[in-house]
């Protein structure tokens, strides 16, 4: 063993030295590598950004071009229509012969449009595999409101498969009475109920929305909107609400109350108390939000009087 000490020593020293210089070089290299990586990343990022920007620019160009083409097409179309004043038939000499597909697609769109118009009549629908799905639309005057669906099975007997009619509408009762014998009558009566309900709700909403300053808080109503209770005054400037009204809608197929009980607080001036009968009469004959228009104006003078 003793014959090799110098060699062993040398080896040990060499190893130490190697480790030393190796450390320095490696860390240097690592540093360089990191820098290069960072640079590459940055470069990549800018490249990506530029690419994205270029892509966006190209897209904008493309869209602008398409917009201009389309605009030109629309302008041309308008000009042609104005020149011809009215319907262009396919027999017009300069019209290009439309393809059969175009003709059929035109027909499809016009049938679709006519089907949509049925929505305005109050009853629309479509045939299903096992029956018909009806849609009952509702409106208050010219404003169309909610639509309700009724999916009917027609075989072996007429049955309601699914529906979106609110629970407080006496659907089951009506179905029992008419569904098997007269579907048309059934839908017509159901539509009366739905239209009347939606009409009452619409009037109450309008009143709340337009005349909230004349109402004491929110008006109270039940879900069917056939009982409404509210306290009110006739001029929004007042902080007191001397009148209170209770409207009862006895006929569920109508949106005007059958009974309107109006009372006045005992401390109110006699001039106000004398008007309760007139108010009650207006409520029974005029839509709620319109009734407020007509009962408020003459009263204002009275309120201001000393």
């Amino acid at each position: 063993m003793s014959a090799f000490p110098p060699a062993r020593e040398q080896q040990r020293k060499m190893e130490e030295g190697r480790a030393y210089s190796q450390d320095g070089v490696l860390s240097h290299l690592e540093m360089l590598e990191a820098q290069a990586h960072e640079l590459a990343l940055k470069q990549e990022e800018t490249e990506q950004q530029e690419e994205k920007l270029a892509r966006l620019k190209a897209r904008v160009q493309e869209l602008r071009l398409r917009r201009d083409e389309l605009q030109a097409k629309v302008d041309l179309q308008q000009k042609r229509l104005l020149g011809k004043e009215g319907v262009v038939t396919s027999s017009a000499p300069d019209a290009a012969q439309p393809s059969d597909r175009a003709v059929l697609e035109w027909k499809m769109k016009s049938v679709q449009a006519m089907l949509q118009v049925f929505y305005l009549t109050g009853i629309s629908g479509k045939l299903t595999k096992h029956g018909v799905c009806f849609c009952i639309s509702t409106a208050y005057e010219g404003t169309y409101l909610d639509s309700y669906y009724l999916d009917l099975l027609t075989k072996p007997e007429v049955r309601i498969r699914r529906h979106s009619v609110p629970v407080f509408i006496p659907l089951e009762q009506l179905a029992k009475k008419y569904l098997q014998t007269d579907i048309k009558r059934f839908l017509s009566v159901l539509s009366d109920h739905l239209n009347a309900y939606v009409g009452r709700r619409y009037q109450a909403d309008q009143l709340q929305e337009r005349f909230s300053e004349r109402l004491e808080g929110a008006l109270q109503r039940n879900s069917l909107c056939n009982v409404l209770v509210f306290n009110y005054n006739t001029s929004g400037k007042n902080q007191t609400f001397p009148f209170s009204a209770k409207l009862l809608y006895g006929d569920l197929c109508r949106s005007l109350p059958t009974e309107a009980v109006v009372s006045c607080t005992p401390d109110a001036p006699a001039s106000l108390a004398g008007r309760t009968a007139a108010h009650s009469d207006v409520f029974r004959h005029v839509a709620l939000h319109k009734a407020f228009d007509s009962i408020s104006s003459p009263e204002e003078g009275l309120d201001r009087a000393p």
């Binding site: 917009r67 389309l70 308008q78 038939t89 305005l120 045939l127 409106a139 005057e141 169309y144 048309k184």
Partner: protein, 287 residues
């Protein structure tokens, strides 16, 4: 900073896309609205379409799909017309204004409700929101031959005033059903009692005359009007008018005077058909 550069472009892209969509819709709408094909043309296209495209064009909907779709839509439409009794014979619309979610269209619609012809013009304002579409009817104009259907004129003007399109269809249907019912009833009695029942204005008139076949026989006139009130409720109103020769009148003065009142209570008790039937029998028996 960098993000804001993108933002400028992205915003422009979005607004361009919206603009393109609107223009495309406008083009499509006008194209649809300004074209018209007759039923023959459509039938021809339907026939040639299927042969022409056989084995061609995989990307587009196949001809049979398009045809099936069209047929199913037409089946829906004809079912609805039959069911409701409202037959649309022509419909055209024109987009007046289209901005974002707001669309105003002018519609012209004509058709028959059972046997009654009608024509409508109105504007439809539609506002699309995320959940639903709200629709409002304005400028409603109802054209009906009001001379012939005298009962409806008041109702028609209140319909126009309030834009009451939905109740209009309901009441028109019920009016038309009564109208049809009256025609059938008159026809029934005319066929059954041809010697007694006279129809001076034909089956579509609003009265019949019951005349005893004998020369001095007396005459009863039943006037059957169909009344539609401002709220659109339809009610039949029947009245009895008497035209009696003097010698008959002398004998039965009270009976004749009471006849209209009796007729009214008979209507309430037995209904229209039985009440008329009874009158006919009385007229036939006399003398």
């Amino acid at each position: 900073m960098e993000n804001s550069i993108y933002q400028v472009y992205e915003d422009e892209i979005q607004s361009l896309e919206e603009e393109i969509k609107m223009l495309a819709e406008k083009y499509e709408d006008s194209q649809q609205e300004s074209t018209f094909f007759s039923d023959e043309e459509i039938l021809m296209s339907m026939k040639s379409f299927q042969t022409e495209f056989q084995g061609e064009l995989k990307g587009q909907e196949s001809p049979s799909d398009l045809k099936a779709q069209l047929e199913s839509l037409e089946a829906d439409l004809s079912f609805l017309m039959k069911f409701t009794g409202i037959w649309f014979t022509s419909h055209s619309k024109k987009t007046v204004e289209k901005t974002g979610s707001r669309t105003i269209q002018k519609h012209r619609l004509s058709g028959n409700c059972h046997s009654l012809p009608f024509q409508l013009e109105f504007q439809l304002l539609e506002i699309k929101s995320k959940e639903s579409v709200s629709a409002v009817i304005t400028d409603l104009n109802v054209i009906m031959e009001s001379g012939e259907y005298s009962g409806v004129s008041k109702f028609v003007s209140s319909t126009e005033e309030h834009g009451n399109l939905l109740p209009f269809f309901k009441s028109l249907s019920s009016y038309a059903e009564w109208y049809e019912h009256r025609r059938c009833t008159f026809l029934h009695f005319k066929t059954r009692y041809p010697d007694i029942v006279k129809l001076p204005e034909g089956l579509l008139g609003d009265y019949i005359v019951l005349r005893n076949p004998e020369p001095s026989g007396f005459e009863l006139m039943i006037v059957w009007k169909i009344h539609v009130d401002e709220d659109g409720r339809t009610t039949p109103v029947l009245d009895l008018l008497t035209k009696v020769p003097e010698q008959v009148l002398e004998q039965n003065i009270t009976t004749i005077e009471n006849a209209p009142t009796c007729f009214r209570s008979m209507l309430l008790l037995f209904g229209i058909e039985t009440a008329i039937e009874n009158l006919i029998k009385v007229v036939g028996l006399k003398k």
